[in-house]
Symmetry: C2
Subunit: 287 residues, 2 copies
Amino acid sequence: MDQIELVRDFNRFYTQRLGVLNDHYLGQRRPLGEARLLFEIGDGAGLRELRSRLGLDSGYLSRLLRSLSGDGLVTVGPHPTDGRVRTAVLTEAGQRERADLEARSRESVAALLDPLTPAQRERLLEAQGQVRRLTRLATVTIEAVPDDAPPARACLQAYAAELDLRFPEGYDPAALIAPGALTEGTFLLAREDGRPVGCGLWQGSGPVAEIRHVWVSPDARGLGLGRRLLAALERDAAGHGITSIRLGTHSVLAEAIALYRAGGYREVQSDDSSPYNQLAFEKRLVL
Amino acid sequence: MDQIELVRDFNRFYTQRLGVLNDHYLGQRRPLGEARLLFEIGDGAGLRELRSRLGLDSGYLSRLLRSLSGDGLVTVGPHPTDGRVRTAVLTEAGQRERADLEARSRESVAALLDPLTPAQRERLLEAQGQVRRLTRLATVTIEAVPDDAPPARACLQAYAAELDLRFPEGYDPAALIAPGALTEGTFLLAREDGRPVGCGLWQGSGPVAEIRHVWVSPDARGLGLGRRLLAALERDAAGHGITSIRLGTHSVLAEAIALYRAGGYREVQSDDSSPYNQLAFEKRLVL
DNA sequence: CACAATCTCTGACCTTAGTCAGAGAACGCC
DNA sequence: GGCGTTCTCTGACTAAGGTCAGAGATTGTG
């Protein structure tokens, strides 16, 4: 069996397992749609938000809510500020039902874990974490966007805010590349399910380019995305005739430094004008 | 987050991932039920078998088949020997459709793997394998059954057949415990999804009991089931007042010997009358 | 050979999950 | 204050997935 077949086989296996688990804990008390809605309402939520979170048609949502409120689990009232929006709130019975579903779900998972030894449970969690991290990494898309695209600027703002916290001297957002200033080079944006989770750019016209502003969103760290971004930047630069990359970084950014070293960058004498770049690295691109 | 919550979180994540994958490759060409049926028919299958494999109502299956044969993908003919049963066979168009679905599925998995480096793919497969093995192990049930129950005898037959192949001198099935002979002791049967996948028994009235006939089905090896069975036998025996276990094994059964050693058994002088038991082990049970 | 069991098929019926086209109320902006 | 937009709700409709009760053919068994 090749790799693709092995993954498909695992997916089939796990689909089936999850099906059994779901059947067991849902116990036919509620249709799936209503159960999901009960969870999602939580401590009250606007219908508009519910619709977007669950991806429901407005008519369908309305009907689901009517059914739930018919069972006395939900009340739908007006929104405090916006009269068009309505908000759904769980009644006490609704909260009990929700807690009950939650407990059943926990119980069926607990029953699954029960026969395993503590060491085996650890291994299971570790392996699930690994599957998850690699699957997430694999589904992140990286694409070139203009450096003034709104999601690009959002990433850069987050990058600047983080550096401002981490650098002892703070970070001046004016040091960011100005919108539209990237005429020679590429800005790469990483997205997970459409949401921006990282960025980076290379710039320069000569045979030597500079990589800057490589950033990964905190909730996407540990996946190996920094490495993917760096590799994608190098590939893109190489495709534009760049043969060497230089980059500078701050001495407090230990994980960035480790990333560059692991990526084949060698530390060189810094001649950078930016006060934030205390270290300089260089790498020759091989085609 | 506790362990249960972590597992639930992984399950939610993976459900969603699989949903995206499925939506993508099924591409709305076929309803899920029909697609599954196309796969399952393969090179022809009796309707009765299809029904049990897919867990379908006979009326529903009939209707699905009519729909598929209406599209020219399937022909339904008589069974060669049993006139009540009918068999479904894929037409050429059906085989093309099936191959097409298969190709789409492979393609979407290939697209998932594509962004990963070879080392990351290896790690993903390794982790998926780990999740699968531990999940399988956790869902195996172990229960006491009479030593003459049909699934118990089936396991013992398989055990004897295997030993006969592995022992240079062969194995005489008469050496198996006779049906109904286990009056003092317990026969434990391991099942996965109802299917017997392993067994083992302890027997004896004194403070010292003997564990015999520990066997795990070839397709359930590598899960750690032998270890679970052994632990379950010890627990059951201890519950019946047994304080020490002795057991004998054949010198060619390397993995069994390793299992006993890892389980805390110490090799002792063999005084066994059975010609198959060249090695003897002993363990004091602690309560 | 009779009779019970097995197997497939049909028709009637049901729930879940969803889509679509408006109606009507409320809001935001000019 | 008018007007386009946003939001919810209703009614009409559809597809998928499935259940249930027989009818009719066939088979195994006493």
